[in-house]
């Protein structure tokens, strides 16, 4: 026994020397989630293929396309065709998917985001491509059809790489933001050739969109997110840009005020100049905060931005502290193996992987393409949030430290067992799917928001869950990540709580009363109604 303890200590110490992120040691292992890779048996086979124009992108959309409550998957294929997989898993059973012809089989797809654009209760898809972005209207039973013409949507001709959507006050259709990358024709001199990002606003009372407005200057946007950063009720548009290709650029935050042209936040308003190889945006709200924080992926150092608010009596300025190192949210170089060169991070997402009530951070990693100064074997990170808002690396212990060339990802409960599973899209290799088999995970609840009329999925709402220890807040967004988006169940780990209080702040600002519900259950939350318990076999 003594020998074993010494061995564990030695492993812990070695890890501490080779990695700046706080290692998780033997004594912490009870809190670490456990994943089991199920790719081979899952039925999914999808490779993000292609050369230069597919060095970025590689997204996956997570949606329920047949109304059975189980999350289905739509994959970007790059030079290969996009594909749709229907979830055939059973509650708590093995992860199982089946490919289906869906109308989505387009080429040159870089990313896919789900959104009920036309408010018919069926999820549509925004398909980003090298070429034209295509809006695919959802039909019943996981079928989709092109809707650009029907919805007056000009998908342009660019290297589209990022997307986000919001419903502006009073609008019956969403406002879409589309981010572009390098001019595909400028292979000889790609630097400084970023093409324009675009904002599509709805067409008055008719279905569809006005001609787009350019979001200029544009700096090769690899991630966009409409987010109510200051809790004003009016989301702004965050854009994370790749400094590799812009000249004179920086990260951006746009005012998107109803009826007003888009306008950049300025230095005078408190916006701080920042240049990174921006590749992905993840947002979370820490338990001691009511404002969202953002994790920005990049090459080498990433950013964990937490709002500076020196005076809580006045509205905050859009100025952020980077607390990545202070909080241990570091992923700047591999923490396993002997490749110690700097890392390249893409999709990032906060989800509670062990149901302890604290959202954890997953980061998909992978070399851009044969860049010898960056790690070739770059393990994905799983940073476990600790009380106090610090993080510990557990990717290797949890079993998700794959060194394949990752891009997009989806963190979702695929078999509806209350634990978040993991899917990662890899470049030039098959995707990987892990089932969360953590034996001692905490309790959970999962909720799905509904409201009548437009914005059926209540994009822009805030969900709050009080588990007795803390209030866990979550903004409902579509966008961010890296070319990957999700719609469906919103998962909350609640620790040991058998019951929790929940409430929704709806996009129109109305706030439900706190309602007590039992843990370890799924609930449909309809605007103005009591939480409705969901059982498999019915539409949520």
């Amino acid at each position: 026994m003594f020998v074993l303890k010494r061995l564990l200590f030695s492993i812990c110490l070695t890890s501490a020397i080779t990695s700046y992120s706080a290692p998780i040691c033997a004594a912490d292992r009870l809190t670490a989630p456990v994943f089991q890779e199920e790719t081979a048996l899952s039925g999914i086979s999808s490779i993000y293929a292609g050369d230069w124009q597919y060095m970025v992108g590689g997204g996956v959309a997570t949606l329920d396309c047949n109304g059975d409550g189980y999350p289905d998957l739509a994959f970007a294929g790059g030079e290969a065709k996009a594909s749709l997989y229907i979830n055939k898993s059973t509650r708590g059973g093995p992860l199982s998917f089946e490919r289906a012809e869906s109308g989505l089989e387009l080429e040159h797809v870089t990313g896919i985001y789900p959104l009920d654009i036309d408010g018919d209760g069926i999820t549509d898809l925004v398909v980003l491509r090298v070429g034209e972005t295509v809006l695919m209207r959802g039909l019943s039973e996981c079928r989709f059809e092109r809707a650009n013409e029907a919805w007056h949507f000009n998908g342009g001709n660019a290297w589209w790489t990022s997307f986000s959507a919001t419903w502006e006050k009073g609008a019956s259709w969403p406002t879409l933001a589309l981010g572009a990358y390098i001019d595909p024709q400028s292979e000889a001199n790609p630097w400084g050739s970023c093409t324009e990002n675009r904002l599509f606003r709805p067409l008055g009372d008719q279905k569809g969109f006005n001609d787009p407005v350019a979001l200029k200057p544009s700096y090769c946007a690899l991630s966009m997110l409409f987010t109510d950063w200051n809790r004003s009720g009016v989301p702004a548009l965050r854009v994370s840009n790749d400094r590799e290709y812009y000249e004179g650029g920086q990260e951006q935050l746009w005012h998107i005020d109803p009826g007003e042209p888009p306008r950049l936040y300025s230095d005078a308003e408190g916006w701080k100049f920042l240049k990174i190889w921006g590749m992905g945006i993840a947002s979370t709200t820490f338990p001691d905060d009511r404002y969202p924080s953002y994790f920005l992926t990049s090459m080498s150092d990433n950013k964990l931005q937490i709002l500076q608010q020196p005076n809580k009596e006045v509205p905050p300025l859009p100025a952020y502290k980077d607390l990545a190192f202070d909080r241990g949210a570091v992923a700047y170089r591999p923490y396993t193996g002997d490749d110690l060169k700097p890392s390249t991070a893409w999709h990032a997402q906060f989800e509670d992987m062990n149901n302890d009530g604290l959202p954890d951070l997953f980061i998909a990693k992978g070399n851009v393409d044969r860049m010898p100064d960056f790690a070739q074997k770059d393990p994905n990170n799983l940073l476990l949030q600790q009380p106090g808002g610090t993080f510990k690396e557990v990717g290797d212990i949890a079993g998700v430290a794959s060194v394949r060339n990752a891009r997009g990802a989806s963190l979702a409960d695929f078999n509806l067992d209350g634990k978040i599973d993991l899917l990662v899209v890899n470049r030039r290799e098959n995707v990987q799917l892990w089932q969360n088999v953590t034996p001692d995970a905490g309790n959970f609840i999962e909720v799905m928001l509904h409201q009548d009329g437009p914005n059926r999925d209540a994009i822009g709402a805030w969900l709050e869950v009080d588990n007795g220890d803390r209030i866990i807040r979550r903004e409902i967004t579509v966008g961010g990540g890296h070319a990957s988006g999700q719609l469906g169940w919103r998962h909350f780990g609640v620790g040991a709580a058998q019951t929790v209080k929940i409430r929704t702040i709806w996009p129109d600002g109305s706030t439900d009363a706190w309602e007590t519900v039992s843990s370890n259950a799924f609930y449909a939350l309809n605007h103005g109604q009591a939480a409705k318990l969901w059982q498999t076999g019915s539409a949520p």
Partner: protein, 469 residues
Amino acid sequence: MTCFQKNINFGTNATLEKRIHALWQGWVTFLHDCISSRLPALCMIALVALSSGTASAATSDEILRKWYGLSLSLIRHTPTYSPPVASRALAYLGVTSYEAVASGSPQLQSLAGQLNGLKPLTARENGLDYDDVVVLETALATVIHDLFNNTGPSGQQAIQHLEDELKASTVTLGSTPESQARSTAYGRTIAAHIIAWSREDGGAVIDNMGFPLTYGLDKRPGHWVPTNPLARQQQVPLLPNWGKNRPFAMPEGASCPLPPPLDYSEDPGSAFYKDALETYQTGKSLTNEQKAIAFFWTDDAMASPTPAGHWSSILLQIAEHDHLPLEKHVDALARLGIAMADAFIGCWHEKYRYDLVRPITYIRKFIAPDWTPFLLTPPFPEYPSGHSTLSAAAATVLASVIGDPYSFTDHTRERDTAIPRSFDSFWSAAKEAEISRLYGGIHFRTAIERGFEQGRCIGAYALALKTTR
């Protein structure tokens, strides 16, 4: 022989007069052959195309401009290319350009035997025809492939794209196929020689972007401490052994030594404190003009072509504007590259000899805890100022080779929203680059002034090289 086989020969002689003569002779021969050939119509089409300029071949000046232009972009977009590494690459590009041209020039002599470790290059074969443009294009392309072999996929694609473009344009109006092949092979021979030479200088391999994986910081007061807590790599200083690299023209890194910096002191009455106070007070009340100067000369890694690229850009602008003769152009490129690379070696030698604390560390500790300099503080010791050393070395070369005084406007940072700046001499530009580091709050006055003197000393070695026969 058809008119296409006997094309206009831009000549084996690199002098301008001989090239003009060769051009004229080529035209005469071309016209004669066309008239007497069995394919007069085809020849006329070619003639019309040539007259209208649509099929013009690349000239040596275009080759230089395009490869240097791409190299400055690659420096900006290749993560290992910190300022010292960039200066090294530009020195090898300069020597490659020079040797390729000198090999066919009666005016120029090789730098072999003058530059440290550079052995004599293989000469052209007597009596055989070479295409100077092809020799230069091949040599530069080969060396650039090697220097930037670690750049990303877009950079690799851009290199290949330019090589294909230039090869195609030199083929159009180049010399005979035999001469083309011979010239291509010879260009590769020059490149192989330069590449082999470059491998041994101590700067060929850059791991972890130049930040050592282990490094013991000197914890005593006055020594450098990391200045950017948010950049994990930068908790150790950049390239601590760069000063030990083999220089190009100066004998060794210690050839232009500096006296120690001011005695470190925390006493408000000390000279050191007063130096720091000046940096603090200047930074606190910067005028718009001072901010513009600081921004114009920022030249940060990954956001610009770095200081060495900035000065190379100045020379390239002048070469294009003034139509510098080819021999003078490559002479200037070689001397400038050598002087700047040696400047960083000499500067780094002194930086790690004295290991001085940066203003941001000292000022925040002893003068103003919340002070933030206008520029980002780079991750290595303060004394002397690298930009000051390099700029003085560059001015030493350019003032001598191009002229002094010499008026010019520098557009280097235009695409980064910096307004072009005009100067009446290279020295005035260098002095502005020097003071920009004080305005930027990243140096004390002692470091910029002594750095400048060190640059003069180092530049003199490049100037002493003998290039003409």
